[in-house]
Each structure stands twice: as structure tokens, then as C-alpha cells.
Amino acid sequence: MTTFERHSITPWLLLAPQLAVVAIFFFWPAAESVRQAFYVQDAFGLGERFVGLANFQHVLTSPGYWHAFGVTALFSLLVAAGAMGLALLLAVLADRVLHGAKLYRVLLTWPYAVAPAVAGLLWLFMFDPVLGVLTHALAVFGVHWDAQLDPGQALALVVIASIWQQMSYNFVFFLAGLQMIPASLLEAAAIDGAGPFRRFFGITLPLLSPTAFFLLVMNSVYVLFETFATIDNTTLGGPGGATRTLVYKLYEDGFVGRDLGGSSAQSVLLMVLVGVLTFIQFRYLERKVAY
């Protein structure tokens, strides 16, 4: 692309607002996180003391941190499996229909517009001990539902709410992916005598694998960050930390517990985790492009 050459100040004027916002509200706090991760504040926030890697050591050796890590990993896995499985099924179906395809698309994508906090609330209502439709349905099968007491049920509640919300995001991408598959390819396979299942597992699924990989990473990022709101509106991290994810713990330690050094060390670890995820994402996408 050719460019405007005789303007040396204009580009800086154009860039200034974005650079200023990014510098003040991204790099400054991020640098502050890294710096504070090496210090310990006294109880009144008046002084601080350099402690080297002690904060990291403390975080990485505390069972609470690894518990939160495990909860986050399990949570991600369940949401990715549930949301991607459902989305793939519905996208394949929606891709098949000739009539009403647009209507189905709208009716299956609207949950994307629902805030994670609201998703949590809607499912809290479905599982309410007194009113909940699903509580009553489960009682018929002899299951006593109380997400406030049962750790497994608490996790199930936030997982279901997250799958419900995240399905629509996955659906949009799977449907777009399916529509990119050339019809001639499927037609050729059909002429060669491949049945619908053979065509799905032999052609459609392999061609969708880059989309699926991308979604796997995006679902993990969703669980890492967005589910804070879902948890804070339903289980508050409990019972007994069963739904305390890494970000929920970071919030509790930083704002409720006022442990500045510890929460900063957790921030830095999170940045590294997201950095690794981004790196994997880009490496994979690059390979796909080169293919």
C-alpha cells in the first residue's frame, strides 16, 4: 500500500489517543502488577519491602492456588466439551435445513447477547431450592438439589450456565466453518457411495478441526475471565471453594483480603498463562495458513 509521505506529525496525532489510553490503562497497571509482585506491603499500605520471588513462591506452594487452578481447568474442560459438542450438533442441523435457516440462526445465537452475570441468574432461578423447575424435575428422580451445600452441584450450576451462554458463540463459528466447506467435495464423496456419517467423519470433521482448536482456546479464555460474573451471582466461589476459579481467587485476595503482593503475583501468573494460550493460538493459525 502506498502511503502519505510528506506528513511527519499527522500519524503521531492520529495515534496519540490510542497510545495514551493503552499506555495509561494497560502498560502502567501491567508494569505495576509486575513490580508489586516482588514487594510486600505492610498492613496499613504505608510501606513496602522488596522480597524477590517470595510472593511467587508463596502462591505456587499454597494448596488454595492449585485448587483454584484445578477448578479452572476442570471448568474449562467441561464448558469446552459441552458448548462445542452442542454447538457442532446444532450447527450441522442448521446447515442442513433449507427453510427457516435464518430464523434458527437468530433463535440459537441470541444468548451471546446475555451477560454472564445474567446467565448465572437465569440458571440460579431454574435451580432455585423452592421455585426451580429443574429442582422439582430432579426431585422426581430422587436427586436432592442444593447447590449451596453440594460442591459438585455448585460446579454443575455454573458449568451449565456457562455452556448455555457460550454455545451460541461456538455455534456461529461452526456454522461459518460448515458453510465454507465446498459442496462439490461432499457431493463427490456421496457419488463415491459415502453415507452421511462417513461424509461427516471423513470430510466435515477434519475440515472443521482448525475452527474447533480455535474455539477450544477461546472457551478456555472465556472460562478464565468471563465466568467471574457468573460465579459472583450464583455460588460466590463456594461451597468450600468448589467454584473458586483463578480470577475469583485473585479478586478475593486483592480486594477482599487486601494482599497486594500475593494478588500481583497471581496477576503475573495469569498474564503468563494467557500469553502461552495466545502463542499456541498463533502458532497453530500460522500453520493452518501455510498449509
Binding site: V22, R96, M126, V247
Partner: protein, 281 residues
């Protein structure tokens, strides 16, 4: 397509309808519950059909201060609107200018600038939440709209997307405009903006929903009810009471909170799908 089996069409529709119903059920039950009185709702199971208290419940929310917060739902929805529009328009404005500079100008450190912005792509405000609060407090912006909006604008998604969009414009266009003597601002206004209308609309949809649905940051940045948003007000209705939550109000507020972004997504479906798939590429 010849290989289709018409016999399966009926089954496909049936399964899709089941999917639509399952995904719609939570919202439907919230809608019906919001039209019943508190006394009605204490009788056991959430009603599947409407009651006659709908107007009363919604009127109470919109006209009276909310229990535990002291401001009405109207105020909360207004705050959400200011925040969502501020984030969507603010992000598009600064990203548009930055992407324009990066694509159409040569200047020292151009690549460095791009990377400085690009690094912010995947790191949401949640990872640096504590120091961000410190920075915003230092500027005295806690409990202001600016404080709620600015930290959420500091990310590269929109810049990245607009850069891709500008790079795809034909370079003949640029040369023709130069021959006609168009300067940078003329070129932006008369050529680049009209040609990127669809992308801008798509970005707006995604950013509006993103802004409207924010939770953790406004929870911290708006620590008085005057600036609280609709999304963060919901917890007050459900979690703070020792007794049974007033579900008729909580569900009504849920509906009010969900309506604006859902309307945007349904009305602008075409832009939404495009915005979502483009933004992540």
C-alpha cells in the same frame, strides 16, 4: 444437492426446535415469573404461564428505588447505556485513527507502535484489576463514567480488525485520491470511512454488547449506586436478602437488562455474525 435425504428433514427440524426450546426456556421462565406477585411465587414451582402482576412489577422497578441500592431501574439502565455507548464509540474512534495511521503513513517506530497496541489483544482488564483500580483512583476517576469506560477501551481488537479492513482496500483508490489532491483527512472522510461502513457496524454491535455486559470492572469503578449499571444491580436483588429472594423483581430486572443487547443482536444479525467471525481472525 442430490445426496440429501428428504426423510431426514423432518427429524432435523424436530431436533432444531428442541434445541431452540431448551435454549429459550430459562428466559421464558424468567418472563412468566416476572408477571406474578411475590405471594404467587411462594406456592412451589415457577409458573409456566403469565400472571397478572406484570405491569405492577415492572412499574415498581422503573419508578421506585431498588431495594438495597436506592436508585431506580431507569437510572441503572441509563448508566449501562452510557457505558456501552462510551465503550463502543470510544473504542471505534481511537482504533479508527490508530489503524489509519498505521496503514496509510510511514513513520519511524511504526512496527513498534503496532506491536505495542497488539500486545493488549488477549489480556483483559481482569488480569491487572488491582493496579488498574490504583491508576484510575490516582486520576480521581473512581465513580465517574470516564473511569468506567477508559480502562475497557485499552485493547487492540478493534485496531487489529480495522487494520485488516484498510489493508484490503485497493491501492488504486489511494493513488486516484492523491492525484485529485486529497489530503489525509479528506481521504479518510470521503473514501476510507464510506468503504468500511459494514466493518464499523459489525464492530459497533460486538463492542456495544461487550460494554453493556461488563461486570467486574464497573463493580469496582462504580462504587456508588449513582453510577451502578443494570448488570451489577442484579446481585443486590438476589444475594443480599436472608429470606427468599424477590424473584418477581429479579426476573423483571433480568428481562430489562437483557432486552437492549438482545434487540441489537437480532436487529443487526448480519453485522453481528460478521463482526464476531472477523474480530477473531
Amino acid at each position: 444437492m442430490r445426496y440429501r435425504r428428504p426423510g431426514l428433514d423432518g427429524l432435523t427440524h424436530l431436533l432444531l426446535i428442541i434445541g431452540v426450546v431448551i435454549f429459550g426456556l430459562p428466559l421464558w421462565l424468567a418472563l412468566t415469573a416476572s408477571t406474578h406477585s411475590a405471594a404467587d411465587l411462594q406456592n412451589g414451582i415457577a409458573p409456566l404461564w403469565f400472571g397478572d402482576q406484570g405491569l405492577a412489577n415492572y412499574w415498581q422497578l422503573l419508578s421506585q428505588p431498588m431495594p438495597g441500592l436506592g436508585v431506580s431501574a431507569l437510572r441503572l439502565l441509563g448508566n449501562s447505556l452510557v457505558m456501552a455507548l462510551g465503550i463502543a464509540l470510544g473504542k471505534i474512534a481511537i482504533s479508527l485513527l490508530a489503524a489509519y495511521a498505521i496503514v496509510f503513513f510511514r513513520f519511524p517506530c511504526r512496527t513498534l507502535c503496532f506491536w505495542l497496541i497488539f500486545v493488549t489483544l488477549m489480556l483483559p482488564v481482569e488480569v491487572r484489576i488491582v493496579p488498574t483500580y490504583g491508576v484510575v483512583a490516582r486520576f480521581g476517576l473512581i465513580d465517574t463514567y470516564a473511569g468506567m469506560i477508559l480502562p475497557l477501551i485499552a485493547s487492540a481488537t478493534a485496531t487489529f480488525l480495522l487494520r485488516q479492513c484498510f489493508l484490503s482496500l485497493p491501492s488504486e483508490l489511494f493513488e486516484a485520491a492523491r492525484l485529485d489532491g486529497a489530503g489525509p483527512l479528506r481521504f479518510l472522510k470521503d473514501f476510507v470511512l464510506p468503504l468500511s461502513r459494514t466493518n464499523l457496524a459489525a464492530l459497533f454491535v460486538i463492542m456495544f454488547i461487550y460494554g453493556w455486559n461488563q461486570y467486574l470492572w464497573p463493580l469496582l469503578a462504580a462504587n456508588s449506586p449513582d453510577h451502578a449499571t443494570a448488570v451489577i444491580s442484579l446481585k443486590n436483588l438476589v444475594q443480599s436478602t436472608d429470606t427468599l429472594p424477590p424473584w418477581q423483581l429479579a426476573t423483571a430486572m433480568t428481562l430489562l437488562t437483557v432486552l437492549p443487547p438482545v434487540v441489537v443482536i437480532v436487529a443487526m444479525q448480519r453485522f453481528f455474525v460478521r463482526g464476531l467471525t472477523d474480530a477473531e481472525k
